[in-house]
Symmetry: C2
Subunit: 458 residues, 2 copies
Amino acid sequence: MRKLAVAAAAALLLASTSAAAQSLEAGAAQVRDGALNDLTAWTVLESLTTEVGPRLVGSPAMDRAREWGVDTLKRLGFENVHVEGFTTPAWSRGAESAEVLGPVPHALHILGLGNSSPTPKGGLEAEIALFPTYQALLDAPEGSLKGKIAVVTQKMTRTQDGSGYGAINAQRTSGPAEAAKRGAIAYLTRSLSTDDTRLPHAGGARAGGIPAAALSTPDAELLDHLVARGKPVVVRLSMASKLNPKAQAYNVVGEIRGSERPDEVIVVGGHLDSWDPGTGAIDDAAGVAIQTAAAKLAAGQRPKRTIRVVMFGSEEQGGSSGAYLAAHKDETGKMVAAGESDGGAGRIWSINLPTGSAAHPAMKAFAASVAPLKAIVTRSPPREGGADISGLIAAGVPFVDFNQDMSRYFDLHHSADDTLDKVDPAELAQNVAVWASFIFTVANSDIDFRALAKDPAK
Amino acid sequence: MRKLAVAAAAALLLASTSAAAQSLEAGAAQVRDGALNDLTAWTVLESLTTEVGPRLVGSPAMDRAREWGVDTLKRLGFENVHVEGFTTPAWSRGAESAEVLGPVPHALHILGLGNSSPTPKGGLEAEIALFPTYQALLDAPEGSLKGKIAVVTQKMTRTQDGSGYGAINAQRTSGPAEAAKRGAIAYLTRSLSTDDTRLPHAGGARAGGIPAAALSTPDAELLDHLVARGKPVVVRLSMASKLNPKAQAYNVVGEIRGSERPDEVIVVGGHLDSWDPGTGAIDDAAGVAIQTAAAKLAAGQRPKRTIRVVMFGSEEQGGSSGAYLAAHKDETGKMVAAGESDGGAGRIWSINLPTGSAAHPAMKAFAASVAPLKAIVTRSPPREGGADISGLIAAGVPFVDFNQDMSRYFDLHHSADDTLDKVDPAELAQNVAVWASFIFTVANSDIDFRALAKDPAK
């Protein structure tokens, strides 16, 4: 009898689990289908890029973006909408130009790198020392670049997962400091980019106290061709950038409170700030739009757990992750999961769920719901999460990687070409559908990712 | 006996014609294969774009280009290398900028159009009147645009034969004058372009006495989005262009003299001048490079007729065609044929030979030689020839159309993106091979295109 009772109880539990999973899967599918036909994300993205434009941290546009964020979240019915202020160093561009003076005059298309120093007024002129690879610069002895403008023209590789960027990232982020260490008075890098347009790609750097800028692809190749002639190439560079050591910045937050366990929170977000040359459409108005729309659509009827959207206020120049953690460090234990969308608007093609969770019925329900969208749940643990949730991750909050197709991302990233017209509304909707389905599933189940990380059978 | 003699003579003629044609075809094939493995065109193109750069007529760069042209032709062994000077009106760009002042501030990426007037110092500010089609502007009554900046945002269509450009060309070339007629104080047009980059595309216009500029594709679409909100959109435009009514210009000429009939001349060319934003690689350093290399390769052993290469000196702003005709009007009767390469560096995919000539053995030999290059001789007569040989065409010189794949041409044309890296050396070599084979065939036969136009059986 006892055995039978246990078996019956187990069967009942299984049936109930299975019924719950089936109900989750049906709900997730419904959320998914709703998202595929919903225009909220597109409308949010169009609004932010059109009505605010580029949003450099510390700029007046960022104040407009803060107001826009509050208005948008309220208009969409989010609760507890508020702004969390913090300060952060903020670099801003001034007038800047570069040209080859000889042996042949040529205009150069540049964008100054974040944190780089201005040139003296009137600019500086110097012979260039060109390195076809970043390693060749690193191999140059200290002092060998004295009085020179160091130039590195190594190319970035196009990859679907965006890993070509990581592989060459130091050429921009550490190049200026490495050049300065060797005596260079300025630094130019071929843009970390996969395109061939005359538009350079900006980005942050450790600038080592010298002016540093990115060249467009054709300009970098022009320097290669000029240098190949064996005559000294002299460049004039002028930059009037500024650094505000303590700019005011903001994370903008809205919630949909849970009906059963409101203190258990799933945190999702993108970043509201952008670099200045484009309108920050794919980086990262898209992420803001995707998460805002996904949270709204996932909430539908009020969810059991709380869903929180954070529009992070200083991803490009850093600061919003740390500020968010500092403001919420006592709350991280109740954060069920964190997710960030900062990979553009391309389709999600693979998903890394928190360690040990893929076999849980709730996550199987989620996986089943997004399989028709060609989004595959992998067996790999998440690796990155994102810059703005890195503080939460360090504090132990479970997180996910939703991997987007980034094949075209680095054609546009940090350049004047990062504009609304580059976003495919159908791909944007696919993103929203995947995130909405995930948020729905987590917010309406009792899945405990921390416990599963320790014991996946739990 | 008589019949037999006639038949024998006919057979002999046929055999001899056939032998001549076979010899022409073998020669053309040899020239073709040589061209496919020859780097002359690439070297010329790389040299002009690197060592001279952009070449606006009337600019100091154009003087350097003239010297470069003379040096290049001499170095390659051309004879009778000389410069033919003329004067032409030449517009030049000054500092220029545009921005949306309200309802939301946005930078606009523009390029002033050739012949447009400067703005008053300090620029002008006005509300825009936006027309989604060029026809809508034409439909606006006179006086209706008083005090406004007229904006037309109609898109160009991508086509392989480039005909999408002709279909929309008036939007740039006549738009400013039409807007001025209706009272507008300035004119902005979406670039005549098939790309989606933030780079505008320049070009000439009848400017109607007002400032006129091209917007990049994303900027035109941004104005569409702003205007859709129904509030007045105010733009500030500043342009400091200049017009030199009598700039010095040059056609640069070189020949390879014929061994048997040196006074019979085949004239081929491209244009040396360019717009200023890029380095004029596809428009038209490519054409200069293709024709210079093709003439050189076709000459091989000295040809029977004279081959002449003309680097025309003012295609973009007009003048070189008329100047060339004026200087050679007594000689046009001896010009066997004229050909121009001004469609970029894309592959030649079809060929329109002079009317009535396709069945001539020499042209059949040519067609056979280029068939392996996927260049097809059509049954259509030539239609365009090219702007720089339009004077010769009007004077009755037979001409050809070598139709290039222009699918990508209008992504780059007249923009900062017209740079060397956009040229595929293999496609460039295919162009050279087709032209070289044609030049060889004409220069080493006695084909008379004028006679064939009257009687194709001749």
